[in-house]
Symmetry: C2
């Protein structure tokens, strides 16, 4: 499987918010992160960057 | 390897713009897509959504 872990960009260092992420979809007020088990998290933010070989997706909260 | 293919969102259907994508980083005026071979593409847009199990990343051009 080629899922990744989602991290929220913080001042000091990124914080892991979800493992085994499959999909990230835009929502009205941000994004919905869905893992391979179907768990969902709504974040008021956007995809900042990705590093797939490292299995990392970085999420930035809206200002 | 767990890279994905990057598609540009078009009216009819997404258009493949880069295979074997490793990283996508924000740039001043959009994003930089980098594949596992180091090839780069600058797009005036943002990451719309991802579907990692399908190895797909969708890019939306700025309006």
């Amino acid at each position: 499987m080629c899922e990744a872990n989602a991290y929220l960009m913080k001042e000091k260092e990124p914080a892991l918010i979800m493992e085994s992420v499959d999909r990230i979809e835009p929502e009205e007020d941000g994004i919905c992160i869905v893992n391979i088990f179907g768990d969902q998290k709504l974040i008021k933010g956007f995809i900042h960057s990705v590093s797939l070989v490292d299995h990392k997706i970085f999420i930035q909260e809206n200002a």
